[in-house]
């Protein structure tokens, strides 16, 4: 079967010829449908650049990224926006909810920019709100919600369009441990029950331990990767910590 995401030997350079920085250096991996992958790496390892390239916010210097078989590095202008709108769901560290809109309206916006009918919007929001347990906050404004609630609203916005791929950039970065746990459990639920494909970037081993596969990146290259398999979350977490220790750097103080 065609993988949902195929990263094919991508490179990303910054700077001019005289002082070249390789943010991503010949990186390749694939994500199959229904996977929940965490990408770990220290700051400066290139994980955010990678995510930006996948989300088409940034362009690769060379190589190809295929989403559902479509080469997104070739997309331009409005087809880029269409791709972002219809194929991808985003979850950001700082939620990125619009502060002037209620939770309901924030979620609805993802659909209304696709010109989906009002009735359908209502039905779909109702469903997704149940999945993410945010029914009670739908009519609240972001400033009236807790961080965890905001992130779950943002997650609802990301998955409501039934995207091929959900990209999460440090989703627990701004949450306390209790909210983090709750959110990640919801991610697991989405992954198991709805077969959502999630690609999550994090530097936090605890967060990564909720994924089914972890890819470590160092200096723009894949350093290591392994699957959770049948391990318990605790065992998986210990394995991750081992690699983190091996990697050194500031990931040591990630816990």
């Amino acid at each position: 079967m065609e993988p949902i995401l195929k990263i094919d030997k991508i490179e990303k350079y910054y700077g001019s010829r005289s002082s070249l920085t390789k943010a991503i250096d010949n990186l390749s991996f694939t994500v199959e449908k229904g996977e929940f992958v965490a990408i770990m790496g220290a700051s400066g390892s290139g994980k955010t650049t990678l995510l930006n390239c996948i989300s088409t916010i940034d362009r690769v210097t060379s190589g190809h990224i295929y989403v559902g078989g479509e080469d997104i590095t070739k997309l331009k202008g409005s087809s880029l926006n269409r791709f972002r709108r219809e194929e991808l769901g985003f979850i950001f560290q700082d939620f990125n909810l619009l502060d002037t809109l209620t939770a309901y309206e924030n979620i609805a916006l993802a659909l209304s920019i696709q010109n989906i009918k009002t009735n359908e919007i209502e039905a779909r929001i109702k469903k997704v709100a149940e999945e993410l347990d945010i029914k009670s906050v739908l009519n609240k404004y972001p400033y009236q919600m807790s961080g965890g609630q905001k992130q779950r609203v943002a997650s609802a916005r990301a998955i409501i369009t039934n995207p091929k791929l959900i990209l999460a950039d440090e989703p627990t970065g701004a949450l306390d441990s209790k909210s983090s746990k709750m959110l990640l459990e919801r991610f697991n639920h989405l992954n198991d029950a709805l077969d959502a494909t999630i690609l999550m970037v994090t530097h936090d081993a605890f967060t990564a331990s909720y994924a089914k596969r972890v890819i470590f990146i160092k200096d723009g290259k894949v350093f290591n990767e392994f699957e959770r398999g049948n391990d318990s979350r605790k065992e998986f977490f210990d394995k991750i910590i081992d690699v983190v220790t091996l990697l050194g750097g500031d990931l040591n103080d990630a816990l």
């Binding site: 916010i57 926006n81 972002r84 709108r85 985003f90 920019i113 009002t118 972001p142 400033y143």
Partner: protein, 683 residues
């Protein structure tokens, strides 16, 4: 020097933010120069001494208005610079954490203000000089003078004045900035921008009630100035609709900002379409936070529209009036038969002789100078305005409590009137022995008289009853004038006035001249020779000429037009600039919001559309209410200025619309492009 470099870099860097500020300054300087330089253009015009006097009066008035304008501009500039400073709080915070003293930050600001000020002054003056070249065409047109030759004009006095006025304004800005910087605290500077937007929802029921109340108030104010116009006989009465209008405007903005959102969210099909929900929230939050300034801007726009359209139409109708109201070249009038002791004896003596006898004493030769001479008298029958109203008086005195009804009425013999009417080219009349005709062209009074005439009210002269021939006042006049100001006189059969006292004598005539030059020579004789004759102090004789009326009228019209234009443009500019600054002040917040929208995949086109709508509605909202106000305001002005004749308003309204579209619309587009620039992101 280091600080100076920093200032220059700052200006270059934040030029996007400064664009509106800079644009406003340049425009302000240019307009200020143009209107102060008008007198230098009139120097070129070939006009008479009287017009020259009027131009001098106009320039004086314009410089008086300039003081007022400079206050408005000063306020605007300080307001704008405060906005810009706020946007840069973080930058100043960083300077402070780096150990820069507040004094040095003030210095940076000082340099910046100085540089921007200097630059805007130079560019603005350049633009002003350019515009004023075109202005000379308008000036020539206004004074109906031939622009003998086109010459480049530069008014050094206006230039210096502009420098001084704006110098003071910039100096004030510098002081304000310094005070601002010295008061600020580091924590606020660094975290000032991190405020989360709190959406305060107003109670929709309360808003609805308030809206209805304010709409009623506004409706009543409209009623007062239009239908209820007659009741506004006292000058202070006008404050009632003004106050009502002001309060209701504010309340309408306040209630609508809460109401619109509640209403539109109900229309789900519309609300959840594309970015409508986002745009609507943006607008309503903006109107919510700017209710006060929106109301002020709305009222300013209202004043602008009324001032511009009235000023432009006054000029038009004044000149149009002259053609019909001044059909002859000269008219002399004299009060007759003054009582002994009322004034000096020689004046009393003079009042006993006719006008042509007085002219002889003044050594003015009627034979060589005048033709088509009609000399006639007005009579005093002892009847007053009250008497001529008959049984309608009681009603009228109640309806118009501030009108004086005991003024003496003027009567004229039918044959005399017909002689004059022939000269004027007006309709001649015939009368039965018991009939009279009332003639008036001042609308408000004609309306009152018409009521009495409709009731067939008779007048009594020497125990004879006379009845109105027509059930309404005939349109006409005796004295030449630039406005419709004949409050009324009565034409009666000749025999009715046989034994009556003459109150006023008048002599109407044309100049015995073949061309303009000869006419001007005779005019000069009347204006200079007669005025300087020693006998002039012993007579009440007054001469009024067509040329003089014309010049006064043209001059007045020009004066009103220029002052109207000046104030109108400044008001328009100020309100548009405030709106633009309000919009741009939130551009950083907006940028964040649009970034989110872009991240979830919104099309650029959709984003631009949302931005365009957001700014468009923000600009249109106060204008719309101002236009509704203006419809009634213009109706009111029109009736108030009824003496100037109600000329067709359309041309002046088109002119007003042109100014609004170009200045207000210009600011709107500038704001849109600036905002678009700010939310743009490179991929």
């Amino acid at each position: 020097m280091m600080l100076f470099k920093l200032s220059i870099k700052n200006i270059k860097k934040s030029f996007k933010d400064y664009a509106i500020y800079f644009f406003t300054l340049i425009l302000g300087v240019a307009i200020f120069y143009v209107f102060n330089a008008i007198d230098s253009q009139t120097v070129l015009l070939d006009v008479t001494r009287d017009t020259r006097e009027l131009i001098k009066l106009m320039t004086n008035m314009l410089s008086g208005v300039s003081v007022f304008v400079s206050f408005i501009l000063g306020f605007l500039i300080i307001y704008a610079s405060r906005f810009l400073i706020k946007r840069r709080n973080k930058e100043f915070g960083i300077y402070l954490t780096l150990g820069m003293s507040k004094r040095k930050i003030s210095m940076i600001l000082f340099f910046e203000t100085f540089l921007i000020g200097l630059l805007s002054l130079v560019v603005g003056l350049g633009l002003g000089v350019l515009i004023s070249q075109f202005m000379s065409l308008l000036v020539a047109n206004m004074f109906e003078a031939d622009l003998t030759e086109f010459a480049f004009t530069f008014s050094s006095s206006a230039c210096i004045k502009t420098f001084i006025y704006f110098g003071i304004m910039y100096f004030m800005v510098m002081i304000f900035n310094t005070i601002n910087v010295s008061k600020c605290r580091l924590i606020d500077l660094l975290h000032g921008s991190k405020k989360s937007e709190k959406v305060k929802l107003k109670n929709p029921i309360f808003c609805t009630i308030l809206f209805i109340i304010s709409a009623c108030m506004l409706g009543y104010a409209y009623y007062l100035v239009t239908v209820g116009f007659e009741e506004l006989s006292n000058a202070s009465d006008i404050f009632i609709p003004i106050i009502l209008g002001t309060i209701s405007t504010f309340l309408i903005f306040w209630s609508l900002s809460g109401l619109i959102l509640t209403l539109v969210t109900r229309i789900k099909r519309f609300y959840y379409k594309a970015l409508n929900s986002f745009t609507l929230r943006q607008i309503s939050s903006k109107i919510n936070t700017t209710v006060f300034s929106m109301s002020v801007i709305c009222l300013m726009l209202f004043i602008t529209i009324c001032v511009l359209s009235s000023a432009l139409s006054i000029k038009n109708s004044m000149t149009a009036n002259l053609k019909t109201l001044v059909p002859i070249d000269v008219q002399f009038t004299k009060t007759r038969y003054l009582n002994d002791g009322q004034v000096e004896q020689n004046v009393v003596d003079d009042s006993k002789i006719t006008i042509h006898e007085t002219l002889k004493l003044l050594e003015f030769d009627m034979e060589t100078n005048l033709k088509d001479v009609v000399e006639l008298d007005l009579y005093d029958t002892g009847l007053t305005f009250k008497d001529t109203l008959g049984n309608y008086y009681n009603e009228a005195s109640k309806k118009y409590p501030f009108m004086t009804f005991d003024t003496k009425e003027d009567f004229i013999k039918l044959s005399d009137y017909n002689r004059l009417a022939r000269l004027y080219g007006l309709e001649e009349y015939t009368l039965e022995s018991n009939e009279y005709i009332a003639v008036a062209d001042y609308k408000e009074l004609a309306t009152i008289r018409n009521e009495a005439l409709k009731r067939n009210v008779p007048i009594m002269i020497e125990n004879e009853k006379y009845y109105p021939k027509y059930a309404e006042c005939k349109n006409g006049f005796l004295f030449i004038n630039s406005t419709h100001s004949n409050s009324g006189f009565f034409i009666v059969p000749d025999e009715a006035l046989v034994n009556k006292a003459i109150s006023i004598s008048m002599m109407s005539a044309n100049y015995k001249a073949n061309d303009e030059i000869e006419k001007n020579k005779i005019e000069e004789r009347i204006a200079v020779d007669l005025e300087n004759h020693p006998y002039v102090n012993s007579t009440t004789l007054k001469g009024i000429t067509k040329i003089k009326l014309y010049e006064t009228s043209v001059g007045l019209g020009a004066m009103v037009t220029f002052i109207g234009l000046y104030l109108g443009i400044i008001f328009l500019m100020s309100s548009a600039a405030i709106l633009a600054l309000k919009e741009l002040s939130e551009s950083t917040d907006n940028k964040e919001r649009f970034r989110v929208l872009r991240k979830i995949g919104t099309d650029e086109k959709m984003l631009h559309q949302a931005l365009f709508r957001q700014i468009g509605i923000f600009f249109l909202f106060p204008l719309l209410i101002a236009i509704i106000h203006s419809i009634f305001g213009i109706l009111f002005c029109n009736r108030l200025l009824a003496v100037f004749g109600d000329d067709e308003l359309l041309p002046s309204i088109i002119m007003t619309a042109f100014f609004i579209v170009s200045i207000y619309g210009g600011y709107f587009l500038l704001t849109y492009f600036c905002s678009k620039n700010i939310i743009r992101e490179k991929i």
